[in-house]
Symmetry: D3
């Protein structure tokens, strides 16, 4: 049939009309060996399927610590495939009695999805200092707007696990206690800008390793 005979010829012609389309940026897997830029890392070459895949959230984080919780990030630093794509993730493991302390993500909003157990979560608005809290069960989701203080803790009798997604590849994580007590910010300054008592500041600095 004439049609059948024409077909083998089609390929060489059909490819031609668009053959000049190189350098298209469908994605930009981070080359972490380069300097970052305000829009993310330069793109690596030689990309494969593995660059868009990450196994690091499959295993539970180690919650054998005093906060009985672990945050396992899949940010651009761990998962270079999200570079430039406006999204990243993390896994939250919170043992019974565990807590993810008060913190913000300066560079992204957060969406939390409970996969196991019960999580009590809340965030605080900036203008009115209004508290928004929910008890979240398996399958529930909650969203935390960018830059606002929030926390999560286990509210049940078994381990809780959540997948957390962020609206950017590098959301950042600023834990209030670490910012105040785990560095060389002088106790006198901490007290001045927080109205906390000297004894309280020194106690937590001692606990978190900050110098006085």
């Amino acid at each position: 049939m004439a049609n059948a005979m024409l077909l083998p010829v089609l390929i060489s012609f059909l490819v031609l009309p668009f053959s000049a389309l190189a350098l298209t940026q469908d994605f930009c897997v981070a080359d972490l060996s380069c300097s970052d830029t305000p829009a993310g890392y330069p793109c690596k070459t030689g990309v494969g399927a593995g660059d868009f895949y990450y196994h690091g959230l499959a295993a539970a984080g180690n919650t054998s610590n005093l906060i009985k919780a672990a945050v396992t990030p899949a940010f651009v630093g761990q998962f270079p495939g999200v570079n430039g794509l406006g999204i990243s993730a993390a896994r939250l493991d919170i043992a019974v009695g565990g807590v993810v302390p008060l913190h913000t993500h300066p560079a992204a909003s957060e969406l939390l999805f409970v996969t196991e157990g019960t999580i009590l979560a809340g965030f605080i608005s900036s203008s009115s200092n209004t508290v928004y809290t929910k008890t979240l069960y398996k399958g529930d989701i909650m969203v935390f707007p960018q830059g606002l203080l929030h926390y999560q803790y286990n509210g049940g009798g078994s381990a809780a696990v959540a997948l957390v997604a962020f609206s950017g590849p590098n959301p950042g994580l600023q834990i209030t206690d670490y910012a105040l007590f785990a560095n060389n910010l002088p106790s006198a300054v901490v007290e001045k800008v927080t109205f906390l008592d000297d004894a309280q500041v020194k106690k937590l600095k001692s606990v978190l390793g900050g110098s006085d």
Copy 2:
């Protein structure tokens, strides 16, 4: 102690210096009764904790259909709290043998997190038509760059479930088969722009309810 006596007085004074800060936009929960804008819906008033919470992904979608799969969205239309926050979510249920057909999200990148079972997923780049595929097990994540064709199907012997997060509150979903065969696009046009045979087009139009 003088200090203790001063403290009750502090509140009335401390609040004053910042009392003029109203109208701050920490978030903008969608008022779906208003017209959308290019940046999202106008903000509703009277926001509560429930606006940042969504229960609709907790239950499995009904996969008793021929594709044996269900996509349950938590986009701005279902979950108004994500309006303006650059993120949304969906739940994917894929029964044994089920498939989420070839599709794109015109307005967001996607991050998939497997919570149960095994999912075979792939996407295709635009320039070189390169195929990137992975077999994903529980706890694995994969990212699909914005606007590129991709698919997921169950690759195991039990039901698969995934949480999907998007880099925007309204990602859109364009299923290639629906775009071609589930509307009034004439068969002759479909054939002209896809090189599909007439019988194939008419068969799928019949299946998917498109007019000839």
Copy 3:
């Protein structure tokens, strides 16, 4: 002269070629009576020069309070002309011994310009909790990246004044102490997510008006 005679004719013709150009958006002064959107307020009509001008930062804020400081905002809520323009301002008055407590701006970076006195300022990075501090004199500027905890206090023997500019029309202001102690967040939750002692939390809740 022929040239001179032609000139009066020019206007009627020259105007014509571009007369269809209406609806151009050079600016979008906020109509604060409308609902906000994720990109800012709808534009008001009947704009005049006064909409781009604000007098409210000319007078010193009242620092006769226990923190001996005042923040006078010129955000979109006070100065509707900045709507959509990616910038806003505030005036900082800090009396001797005064302090602007630890806080973040969730939605903007800040640039501080000292116009009088001496200000000690610092911010804390998220990843390494590194503290960046400077003593600022008249004419000095310092920039505070979006979303990071920072503070300012008077470091001299006279009143300090600063103009503060923000990289957005509605930067927000979340004062850590207010978020923790000036609302109905239960003391037990505050203690759980901050590791502060019960007595400390209750003392500051009492001072700042939070319920227990």
Copy 4:
């Protein structure tokens, strides 16, 4: 055949899994009867194919004026379908000896495509005041970066026509001569801020209809 019999059943099932996807924003045709926002107009309802189509650039603009040129815009005000899509267009007709005077587009870069004749075009950089000029023939394109002063004039012996595309739906057009001489900006101020001579200013104000 069993397969054939199954197919008619497919449609009712296949549609179900995604039926909850309403409110998706593929586009946002401007409702020009509403107030604009910083991100564009609210979306109209009842959209049809005609909303994405514009006939107004098909006819030549009237160049029977002293500048012997006409700019016919297809901005959001004329072509509401481009709202929110980051693009718009205009038609340029320049008769022999005609000129599009020095101007900027405050809100978009411009890409010019010559469809007839010869156009001499140039733009001037801000830092070094470097002039970039080209003679453009049919089929040539030139790009003018956002906000920079540029001009076009007919450089041949026949009428020139160009299609101009912009990187935004509402690029704006600020013609330097109009800004200086076609309004009530006092001559003394014009002279002060431009170093132009009084006679020159008054002559052009008279021509362009500005009050003294």
Copy 5:
């Protein structure tokens, strides 16, 4: 005259007040020898007028192929001057009977301007699979929203030509047929995710050069 005598002195003084303004980024012509970033290529040095000019769309593309059409791109890869400017272009040549097959641009909206002949064009929305089609004559424009499937074909008795502008410097081009049939995506997978028959898939894979 005193005025005339003062003028030659002006230059040395006038230049001084702003002489520190270097490093201003009016534009950022792509240095294609560097790695791309999520925001575009690093800027080249030594820019000239030729960097903002492109001649490659002046000549008709070769339509002596089976689809009887050619797309000639002026994306950042061909026209480095558009880097960072939010715009790019292409030329469309469609011979009588020719067609630009069903495709998307993942990273830009498209504005089509017909310069010769008649083009039938259409796009399909994502939510409702609504088809929007128009017959376009010389001078008509049509806009295709980002990421949505669309097509163009010659609807007249003579060659059709169009200039196409995009709302980004690197729009991408994903032709559905190429994504499905011109690579190593196994036929079984194509069939699973498209519901196409095996014979149809193998026929088009053979035509387009895909491996089985």
Copy 6:
């Protein structure tokens, strides 16, 4: 007390849960030795507090020139800490009788804050060529929308000083007179695109150093 004894142990455990968080981008101080990108300069390493501080605006600019004014920039080129943060600044010194000539900032809106003296400022809209002017006294602020022509001059009997903030790290500065008269743009072209008289153009070209 058991509590006290546990505390020293806390640090080693508490640090662990989040220890994998490297590569977070709180800021991106410009490495000016690298090529710029469309989103700003690559980030330097080894950042210190000094990178977020700039002293260069503390001293008055030299106004001993014919315009009796000086603009001292703190753009990314002078103050690398603002890279990627969406803000920058400048100092304006205007002696009695001094003027900042008509200009635009192609890449930012401007917010002016008067710290000394009286400044007359105005800008001109693009569509209607409407003039918006204000007399600004110490403490007043005015905002100038991106890309629009504006000017400032001293309106009082003493030196005027202002801090200027911009909504971007690299706003650009295009002074109309410089663009027209301080380069090699031929007088004939200037006259053609501005309608200025030949004598006027040549006079100002001579003053500002442009070649004829």
